[in-house]
Symmetry: C2
Subunit: 473 residues, 2 copies
């Protein structure tokens, strides 16, 4: 067909890129379809140069990413026991508090994290009341450090102090450990920045009664295969981040017979079982360190463009990438788009917070939302949206998880292993399901929803990765 012939026909135009052309044609009465497309890296020459540099060593990058993907997906995280944080978490001094997200100083901490810090200080007996605790918190006597820098993860504020009991997760394939506190339940809890007497009393009960009881049950169990539990839970409507009802139920079924066989008083067993049964999020504090144990086995692989950590301290969002090891790439955290509990609204919300995005980093959570259509009642949207969120994530991930399959996608493996190159090339950001904390300390959870990381984290990581090529090659 000649060009003259073409323009003598009625034009039907697909426009991509600059919207101005589409607008002009539409004004002249032509049918125009605007394609949702952006140039790679938003057309930023620095990002394009970085992508090009990585493209030149594509074989090395692909091999490194394959190694990382395999490490993540063949890892076998087992729940092996429970111990005092200070006794097992590496590099944790007696006056250290771990927290969620990238590094942050006391003065820069958001409200809920400050609340959790005050609570932890009183819980440890380092101060007798909130006023004293606040003074101590900023005195320089307390060391603050990210959970992620100590083989650990913590939901929301993620504050861990030395006396707190933590789950011990052991990756039986790669031999590394991960740690996480025991989930406190719903309502006013430390992880959402609440620190009243009832919150601290519950933590003391967890330390004094629940943790020792569970430790006895776990000793009888010989270890619990968390990968197996998560795989089953994804067939039962969980996604492993904001919906953990099935995981909690399956864990409960495994623990209860062992608990019953311990030498514990029956009142103790009854209280422990009732506590776990009362909280469908109990399993979150196991799906998170399970993901951490898989991802830590995949850190520090030169040339790899795969994300190994996504995490938020309530002020900043931070990521780490395998090829740049322990370096953080941070940017201000976004607000969560979600549903609020009665009496609360977006103006009460703290920005995105917590280490729980480790689940998405490992291919579950928001990435496996298609497995959990019922979650939209909690985070918003419709059931078909849940399918679409998962499908979109296949575009920015290395591959399909052999351990975790999604029935509604006809048992396709969950999209796993975020590739920074793909995020920048396609302009598609990871999808994260999350809870929403009140911005003021001492209040707690006010809702749940969906959030995206800031693009800048991925841009900075890409530039740094390109920088490593100069050194390595």
């Amino acid at each position: 067909m000649g060009i003259t012939e073409l323009f003598n026909q009625k034009l039907r135009v697909i426009n991509l890129g600059v919207p101005l052309f589409a607008a002009d044609l539409a004004q002249q009465g032509h049918a125009v379809t605007e394609l949702d497309w952006n140039p790679p890296g938003g057309g930023d020459p620095r990002l394009l140069a970085a992508l090009e540099k990585l493209e030149k060593v594509k074989d090395k990058v692909d091999a490194a990413n394959r190694q990382v993907f395999l490490a993540i997906t063949i890892a076998q995280p087992f729940l092996e026991g429970i111990a005092r944080a200070g006794d097992v978490i590496p590099g944790m001094g007696e006056r250290t508090l771990l927290h969620a997200g990238p590094p942050v100083a006391w003065k820069d901490m958001c409200g809920p994290m400050r609340g959790a810090v005050l609570g932890a200080i009183i819980y440890e007996g380092w101060a007798g009341n909130p006023a004293e605790a606040e003074k101590l918190a900023g005195s320089g006597e307390i060391a603050y450090s990210p959970c992620h820098e100590h083989d650990s993860v913590g939901p929301m504020a993620g504050v861990v102090s030395t006396s707190m009991p933590v789950f011990i997760i052991y990756n039986r394939v790669h031999g590394n450990y991960a740690y996480c506190t025991i989930n406190e339940g719903l309502g006013r809890v430390l992880r959402y920045g609440a620190y009243r007497q009832e919150v601290l009393e519950r933590l003391k009960w967890i330390e004094g009664e629940l943790a020792p009881a569970l430790q006895q049950a776990l000793a009888l169990s010989g270890g619990i295969d968390l990968r197996g539990l998560i795989a089953q839970a994804l067939h039962m409507g969980d996604e492993g981040h904001n919906r953990n009802k099935a995981g909690t139920s399956l864990l409960f079924r495994l623990l209860a017979p062992y608990l019953a066989r311990t030498e514990l008083e029956r009142d103790v067993i009854g209280r422990c079982l009732a506590f776990i049964n009362s909280n469908d999020h109990f399993f979150l504090n196991l799906s998170m360190p399970a993901a951490k144990a898989c991802l830590d086995a995949a850190g520090d692989v030169p040339y790899s463009t795969m994300v190994t950590v996504m995490s938020r301290n309530g002020s900043e969002f931070g990521i780490r990438v395998s090829g740049t090891g322990k370096r953080w790439f941070t940017a201000p955290a976004n607000q969560v788009n979600g549903l609020y509990f009665p009496g609360y609204s977006a103006k009460d919300a703290n920005p995105d917070i917590g280490d729980s995005a480790i689940t998405e980093t490992a291919g579950i959570g928001g990435f496996a939302m298609a497995a959990a259509p019922a979650i939209v009642q909690f985070v918003g949207g419709s059931a078909p949206d849940a399918l679409e969120y998962s499908k979109l994530m296949y575009n920015i991930t290395y591959g399909e998880n052999s351990a975790y399959t999604i029935p509604a996608l006809d048992f396709r493996g969950s999209p796993t292993g975020i590739d920074v190159r793909k995020v920048i090339e396609l302009g598609i950001l990871p999808n994260i399901n999350t809870g929403i904390a009140h911005k003021d300390p001492g209040i707690g959870q006010v809702g749940a929803g969906l959030v995206k990381p800031p693009r800048q984290c991925f841009e900075a990581a890409l530039l740094a990765l390109a920088g490593t090529v100069d050194i390595l090659d």
Copy 2:
């Protein structure tokens, strides 16, 4: 467009009804689409006349069906306790054996039902070995009666004898009871016709240890809301018939803390919990009588064309319809189309058997398959098929269940209340998920799959319903 103009064009034909026309046109080189359509009632003049007769009293039929639908969907079945079958099931003499499906004499029973009868006779001590039991079974001294005629349901062979413990389900809205034995677990079990020593020993353990223990726990619970559990399980990948993993887990979570608080020895508690935990079908024997309790509240409503029972004795399929009360409409049972366990094939299979189709009758099971995409690994087909099965059932049901919603269908209520008129008009038969028993006694389960009832049951029911109009009007 004139008729001449039409036939001067290239024809694209949609043929509906007699396929001969389509074949002729196709032979002449025209594009023909054959529509999957049949005339109402397959064009049978007797069925058309019956439909017409019911159409004349449409207002009365619709009002009756509305009453039935409401009864089914507002019923509140609670698990209230456990008792000896002979002590609670109405009309059960000491030498009565209840069985699944419509009435059947010993000589006409299929292999697995005969096996279960022999097992029950030995279990009761009425005979010492299979040979003696077989002699007694056909002697006339044993009375056989369908579970459904005694407010009861039984999976597969469904054999209930007087000493067996049964769950007591009470419908708190309508005040009626339903009963079912305790699920024995997987492998060689009485309900699949196995009757070896190990099978009978397990039944004796259930009678002597498990049932009394659970009764103590249930007494502490104050009753368990089965409708609530089923509603949650449908959001967790169960459909309540062939997938009961979530229901079993949720029930376990409720029972365990109560069990721990009883005065039972801890070994007993441990064994009971381990037994329930070992069997993801444990909840089936509660989803079934829960459905029965709802449907029995909807029986005997004059003019109603709604199905209140679908059930099979392994030889015949039987249905009951509200407007014709306790009358059975039977026809030979179909073979199940499914997946077989290693070493077995279709030639080993008994025809469709069990009272478990009561779940589909109440709007769950095969009707709620869209809630349970993972089930296709057990019964065959693909995840999209599971969605389509549920969607198809909306065509033959009265309405959407307000208690039971399906996340993957964006929380649409499950299709509930089969209308015999719609089944005949549209030629769409109910979809049933089911297990497959070996055809010989003493072996057990060999697979699972999908099955349809014979059309004749619905045809006979429709004719009988039309007959009641003559009497009533």
